[in-house]
Symmetry: C2
Subunit: 220 residues, 2 copies
């Protein structure tokens, strides 16, 4: 915001007008994301298109991630859900990610909107590119960063995410029983270790660096 080039400030909106402004910003964001994708779109470009000051965009939507959630009408910030789970110790990340992601999808208002967003991401419409770039930048990169400087951190993060995406597909989209109805904690027990293994496991084996660390602690 420091290098804002357009000096006109309009202050906070009041009354009925604010709904119009917010809707105009959302329309502009949808158009910019559709034309340029998630990464190449700036908050400033959205403000310009909507004909408002950039500070207003930040006022209504916090940041670009927040705008994406609103564009696809998902009442949830997936980047925050994942970020919070990633604050756990590294050998608990698998279970924490499964619990956080499935807990979010299980909630009533989120599920239908999230399924619709997933369908868009898989499809070929203009929203697809935005959602894929968002997933890559805000989810995969975040998970990879939590793994530290490992050479294969990006690959591990994507494979961990692949397991999460797969469970989401079977539970919510394909809706196969028993996975569709089983308790989240049972899935945490069964899927958590697979995610953990992608994050910290030794390829070709079923050992994980984390579980080995645990074992040597127990041995002492």
């Amino acid at each position: 915001m420091a290098d804002r080039s357009e000096p006109r400030r309009r202050g906070r909106p009041r009354g009925a007008k604010s709904g119009d402004t917010k809707a105009r910003i959302l329309d502009a964001a949808t158009a910019e994301f559709s034309e340029h994708g998630y990464e190449a779109t700036s908050m400033r470009a959205i403000a310009r298109r909507a004909g408002v000051d950039p500070s207003l965009v930040h006022h209504y939507f916090d940041d670009k991630q927040g705008l994406v959630a609103e564009v696809v009408s998902v009442p949830l910030r997936p980047d925050r859900v994942v970020q919070e789970a990633l604050e756990a110790p590294i050998d608990e990340l698998g279970e924490r990610l499964v619990r956080a992601v499935l807990g979010a999808w299980d909630s009533g208002p989120v599920r239908p909107a999230a399924i619709a967003a997933l369908r868009s991401a898989v499809g070929q419409g203009p929203v697809a590119r935005m959602l894929r770039e968002f997933l890559r930048r805000e989810i995969m990169h975040r998970i990879a960063s939590a793994l530290g400087p490992a050479e294969d951190a990006e690959l591990r993060a994507e494979l961990a995410a692949s397991q999460l995406v797969g469970v989401i597909m079977v539970r919510y989209v394909l809706a196969f029983e028993p996975v569709a109805s089983i308790d989240v904690e049972e899935l945490v027990r069964r899927v958590g270790p697979a995610v953990q293994w992608h994050l910290t496991g030794r390829p070709g084996t079923l050992d994980t660096v984390a579980s080995q660390a645990n074992n040597s602690t127990h041995d002492e």
Copy 2:
């Protein structure tokens, strides 16, 4: 075929006519699957709708699984790919399934058709229900059967499939790098153990029954 109720037999088609007949059967199959789903549709109902003898449907398409592959224009029989992988020893199933499924998707003619089919399965169109029932009946059930009488065989099969579906999503649909370009054998090393773990692992741990069996063999 023993209890065929319509006695009219037309024999095998000849010349240009056979193409018409095959196309008519495919149209009828598409319509029947769309209206009634995969499980409730019989070869006989398709023959009736196409106005041909049921033996002709079997002549052109072998069986119902073959018809599904033709309806969605995928030049591959996913049920056979999986069935072949399932003939491996139980503690190799994870790697074998990953190698077979990704090997099939990697092949040039299969990939675009398979991606289109996956988009349909995720969508809400009439083909979605057929594909989901097909996946459930011909893929999940087959994997579950390979696990023997385990009480949670269906759940394990679906979770193993969830890992496969997730890698397919990240590699082919979302096309995230590095997973999109990495060698299949590297994915076999990294994803195989996760699939194996779903099939034979002990929930809440990273041990598998299979790897423990191996370990005790090594100890002796």
